[in-house]
């Protein structure tokens, strides 16, 4: 077989991307769980784990560069390697969102949560579920799934809207809650961005499989369009 070594190396890269993905998934779920329990120790562990995620990302990036330099990939191989470069950066940023949530948890100190977390864990579960399926679609080059998953971003956006409105009612009733509401809003914002980045991963999967580079859907824009004031991301 002409490409035995190269095929093995490509598979190793894909396996590593999936591994990095599972690290990001774990970190997101853990960060919300730690917040729910106000577990500062667990939040600190997430910060340490984020360094592991970053390290893994650099390791894969290096592996990709060596393959590009030594194998001079073409066509599907080139699209796969170039897309992996993009996907690992998305996954690393997801790790940063989890780290952001952990940091909020730490900064909240002894302050209790403004309200029990209901929709925020749902956002995390939904986002991670989408991410998991997006990575499976990437591994299998499942076009149908890659095109379908981004539509579910609407659900995450809806949950974010809900969290936003609910937190605003607290703030309106008692402006002293503004800081605690703001913390939770940041948490929700980070989780909303996770789902957006899942869409980017799906777009790359479509590109790997078809060579066509296009935006699948931009619910994010619609979300901001519907907001009353001038938010910027």
């Amino acid at each position: 077989m002409l490409r035995k070594t190269f095929e093995t190396e490509l598979q190793q890269v894909k396996d590593n991307v999936l591994l990095l993905g599972s690290m990001a998934e774990q970190s997101i779920l853990d960060s919300v769980e730690a917040l729910k329990k106000r577990d500062i120790k667990a939040a600190r562990k997430i910060l340490v784990f984020d360094s592991e995620i970053n390290k893994k990302r650099f390791e894969i990036e290096n592996q990709l560069m060596i393959l590009i330099a030594t194998q001079q990939p073409m066509a599907h191989d080139l699209r796969l390697l170039a897309s992996c470069m993009e996907i690992i950066s998305e996954l690393e940023r997801m790790g940063d969102y989890a780290k952001g949530i952990a940091n909020i948890n730490i900064r909240m100190g002894d302050e209790p949560l403004l309200k029990p977390l209901i929709d925020i864990p749902r956002m995390a579960e939904k986002g991670v579920d989408m991410l998991h399926r997006a990575l499976t679609a990437f591994a299998n080059e499942d076009l149908e799934a890659a095109r379908a998953i981004p539509v579910e971003d609407d659900e995450v956006d809806a949950l974010y809207n809900q969290v936003y409105r609910e937190l605003m009612t607290f703030v309106i009733q008692d402006p002293k809650t503004i800081e605690r509401a703001n913390w939770l809003l940041w948490v929700a914002h980070n989780l909303e961005r996770v789902a957006d980045r899942v869409t980017n991963i799906c777009e790359r999967t479509v590109f790997i499989a078809t060579g066509k580079m296009s935006e699948i859907k931009s619910t994010d824009d619609e979300f901001w369009k519907n907001q009353p004031s001038d938010h910027t991301k």
Binding site: F6, M74, A75, L78, R79
Partner: protein
């Protein structure tokens, strides 16, 4: 000499094959090739060994007919004139469509004569010294050889010899330069020099290159034609022709994909 082929035109394609087939006796080497060659661009022909790349290249300037028993079907249009019509003089074809071969093959003469000789026999009446200098400059060789023009062309390095052959091809002022694996016998530096030279030459000439080196095709060409053996008779044909960037990033034909990614060939 009768000039049956129209002068250098400005249509999009300099050369174009229509349903071209080439036979060596009973053996059909290529079949049904429909390929346009864009003016002032570099077209690469790639494909596995034995798929008819060189045969196609040689059909562009009637070099194949130097082999006895060769015949063709279909047409090769050069400036819209079919090159294989009886009114066309093959000598005119070969000086308007020059060729550079895989192995540098300078004449066993001085560097100067390698260039002047062809021009002289084609009836060049101008300033030969100026022509030699201009061709050597265009072939990016002048600086290296200007003080030793009387030395034998065979005393040059492989890469320099190949550039001398390119200079020699330029001396008869062709419109198209056909290159058959022009860098396969050269080291990487000499190869890059030839590639850089090709990019400069395309401002004035149209270039068609046959290459086994896909990275070279990807680096240097504007368009790429992928050839393969097909059909019951196992004759070569162009299975995909597109912008080079499409061929090497998202080819349409699965066989092109498999070839450029090294799955066969």
């Amino acid at each position: 000499m009768t000039q049956a082929i129209p002068a250098n035109g400005n249509s999009e394609y300099v050369l174009e094959t229509r349903e071209l087939g080439v036979f060596y006796g009973d053996f059909q080497a290529i079949t049904q090739v429909n390929l346009p060659i864009h003016r002032h661009q570099i077209t690469a022909i790639i494909g596995p060994s034995g798929c008819g790349k060189s045969t196609l290249l040689r059909a562009f300037n009637r070099m194949n007919e130097l082999n006895p028993g060769t015949h063709i079907e279909g047409q090769v249009l050069f400036e819209s004139q079919n090159l294989y019509e009886a009114v066309v003089d093959p000598v005119e074809v070969r000086y308007r469509i020059g060729m550079v071969f895989q192995k540098p093959n300078p004449f066993p003469k001085s560097i100067y004569e390698n260039i002047a000789w062809g021009a002289r026999i084609h009836g060049f009446r101008g300033d030969l010294d100026a022509l030699v200098e201009s061709c050597l400059i265009q072939a990016a060789l002048w600086e290296e050889v200007k003080d030793k023009l009387k030395q034998s062309g065979l005393a040059l390095s492989g890469g320099q010899q190949q550039r001398l052959c390119i200079a020699r091809a330029l001396a008869v002022q062709p419109e198209v330069i056909l290159m058959d694996e022009p860098a396969s016998a050269l080291d990487p530096i000499a190869t890059l020099k030839i590639e850089e030279l090709m990019r400069e030459l395309k401002q004035r000439y149209t270039i068609v290159i046959v290459t086994h080196n896909m990275q070279q095709a990807a680096r240097v060409s504007d368009h790429t034609a992928m050839m393969m053996l097909t059909g019951d008779r196992r004759a070569g044909t162009v299975i995909e022709f597109n912008d080079t960037k499409v061929i090497f990033t998202s080819p349409e034909d699965k066989r092109t994909e498999d070839y450029v990614t090294g799955r066969f060939g």
